[in-house]
Symmetry: C2
Subunit: 431 residues, 2 copies
């Protein structure tokens, strides 16, 4: 953890270093991933079977390529009641929030007599990557699958590695609840390649979303353009702005809730009170010792954590904007006033009773958010990521007469005479 | 040009070949572009100056890095009245169409007492690539710049190569009309790198859009994630569906208006009348001989053109969907009925008096559209490409009490105890 104050002589440089710290490994995965994609395109199922044997230590022909819908339903039915209720609450609230994102079509006739508009439709098929092992989160499955289903996607195929053939039953339960149509026991870059290009029994999809390790992220980047993808995702981060009126234990838990995800995550506290900063730092240390995820969270906090003391809370605004954080939690007296001045953040948590974790599960907004300063230009996952817009135009002869001469003039000026001719012929104009 | 009929014995295979024909060169530009980006990141302005000297044969220190706003205004003022009126009509209609795309914010309190919503803001800065040489189209500049300005982007930087120091005055006039803030005399992959990472006097932007050659397209792909980009664009295409009631000359001109763009473009006609197909083929040949762009259009038509005879117009619907064309023109008796069944197209032109060219210039919808079957998942350029959405949440203690227990249950089930603790502490729950 680093401790900074805006009054430090070297603050500007040290803060810039914090902003520019990418925490993203691109350690030669590009070539590996390109080779994996090429092998799946060339050898199809055989490549998937070999790579699964190598990385997940099971034979797809023996364990089965797919997990049946009946198995997903059985996992859901076997949930203990408390978890089942929690998962259902989450799904219902996520669905309600995303239903409001459905875009409206437009269709109107303007004063020139031109009918023009736009029509939205879902993609035919979407693929969702669900990590195996430690990061096999049913909440992530809901956050990816439900927007696709709300969009109206007809075929939703999930891929997930099952190391040694094992899979988290909670993930299967969530797949049932979200209405996933196919569950394939394939992971890694090879699974992304199979979704993008198709491989034997796995038909290709149009959009691929979902979190994964560096290989999965790079594979999504490499197939972008062949299919749509949600975003280039990196390590997670939280910025907490808190004054001395907070309970330091609450603030410490908020910072650690990010740190426990992965050793690459970043937790940053801004406060206007140095004594409060000390108390939070001490509380973080104390809580870490009792945390089951200490091994991960302590590395993340030590390597990437930061506490920054500012003179006034308003001084934090431009600094927060430069960080363009995935999560921004405002535990201050006037969170809305602060938010009004922030331009860049993935998701904002307003007030002392809105811990970031509430947004990870049940609140409703999507928890798939832009990381690594990408909130400057990117948005969280939404229904729009699973839809596409077709614009349309209809002119009659009178409308074409209104717009035709300008079109002919511009087409000729651009040196495109066939463009001009296609209009001029219809209007019997010189061109 | 190939001629197919759905009754051909080998129709399925030949149509699939047409669908899968990518027409995209990836002839080793990947490594070239990576090297150019690395050199711009390392050497900044010096790299730009060297590469400009090499490719565009002028010295930026002598010709000037930027073109002044005054020069753009002078170019606009010097336009002949007909062109000036045409450009102004185009800009006004493009602006009007895109103003309707501005997204609405949401902000509401639900039955659990949770305030939740989403806020849209423009990115701080956008960069537009404008090609030099033959494809220096003022219309493309308007189609890229106006949505950015409608979104509210504060800084709009344009890059364009000026071979031998020369630039098309129409492009400068369009830059003035669209309100471009900076015009840089830099092109190629190096210009994209400068916009993404910054290079000396060129400050970095958040989003890069605009057409370019294979190097520019690959550079955008490589910087995707560092900045947002509009899309991975490929060669242009048109599908025309026309019955025998059309004037074959009109249909021929429609096909050629695509073919004249570039030797890689694809023009495809579907018709239910073989005699009409013959007449169009003859008209294309005749028109080609008189076309100033014959050299390009003939190569494109010969290499990539197709005429496909179907039994009934309805038979064309699934074929059209598989092509997922950038442009779809429906010169048939019931264009709306056909369009109702089409799922995939970038932009649709309904009826005999709606030639595609009208959409290239003045109609209003964007002419930057998904190519190469990407209309399956991608949309035309819009105001949304220059904006991003921040979701937000606000809970009070009562609302947290509603959602807290489910969050604690799910966080514990996912093995994330600090997540659970951040909620449980606030509610004095066991966790």
């Amino acid at each position: 953890m680093i401790r900074l104050s805006t009054t430090d002589a070297d603050f500007a440089d040290r803060f810039t270093a914090l902003v520019e710290d990418r925490r993203e490994s691109d350690a030669g995965v590009t070539q590996d991933v390109a080779a994996i994609i090429a092998s799946v395109r060339r050898d199809g199922e055989a490549a998937l079977r070999d790579l699964t044997q190598k990385h997940d230590r099971h034979d797809l022909e023996a364990t089965g390529w797919q997990i049946d819908a009946a198995d997903c339903k059985a996992a859901f039915d076997a949930l203990e009641p408390e978890l089942r209720t929690a998962l259902e609450l989450a799904a219902a609230r996520i669905r309600a929030y995303h239903e409001k994102q459905r875009p409206l079509d437009s269709d109107s006739v303007d004063s020139a007599g031109v009918r023009l508009g736009a029509r939205w439709l879902p993609v035919d098929a979407a693929g969702i990557y669900v990590p195996g092992g430690r990061a096999a989160y049913p909440s992530s499955l809901l956050m990816n699958a439900i927007p696709a289903k709300v969009a109206g996607v007809g075929r939703l195929a999930m891929v997930t590695p099952t190391p040694d053939g094992q899979i988290n039953p909670l993930v299967l339960a969530a797949a049932h609840l979200a209405g996933v149509d196919e569950v394939w026991r394939v992971g890694g870059a090879q699974a992304v390649a199979a979704l993008a290009y198709g491989a034997g029994r796995i038909a290709p999809v149009d959009v691929i979303t979902g979190p994964g390790n560096a290989w999965v992220a790079e594979a999504k980047r490499q197939v972008y353009g062949v299919v749509g993808i949600d975003m280039v995702a990196g390590p997670s981060e939280i910025v907490v702005v808190a004054d001395a009126l907070n309970d330091p234990e609450w603030t410490a838990a908020d910072l650690l809730s990010q740190a426990e995800h992965d050793v690459t995550t970043q937790s940053i506290l801004f406060t206007d009170d140095a004594a409060f900063a000390d108390k939070v730092a001490a509380a973080v240390d104390r809580q870490l010792s009792a945390l089951a995820t200490e091994a991960v969270a302590r590395v993340a906090w030590d390597a990437n954590g930061a506490i920054i003391v500012v003179d006034t809370l308003a001084d934090a605004i431009p600094l927060v904007d430069r960080l363009a954080a995935e999560h921004l939690q405002l535990a201050i007296p006037d969170p809305q006033g602060f938010f009004d001045h922030v331009r860049h953040a993935g998701s904002v948590f307003l007030g002392r009773y809105t811990p970031e974790a509430i947004g990870d599960y049940v609140a409703g907004p999507n928890h798939v958010l832009p990381t690594g300063r990408r909130a400057r230009f990117a948005s969280g996952l939404s229904v729009l990521d699973f839809m596409k817009r077709t614009s349309f135009l209809a002119l009659d002869e009178a409308a074409l007469r209104e717009l035709g001469p300008a079109t002919v003039a511009l087409a000729n000026a651009e040196g495109l005479p066939a463009h001009a001719k296609s209009v001029a012929l219809r209007l019997r104009l010189n061109h």
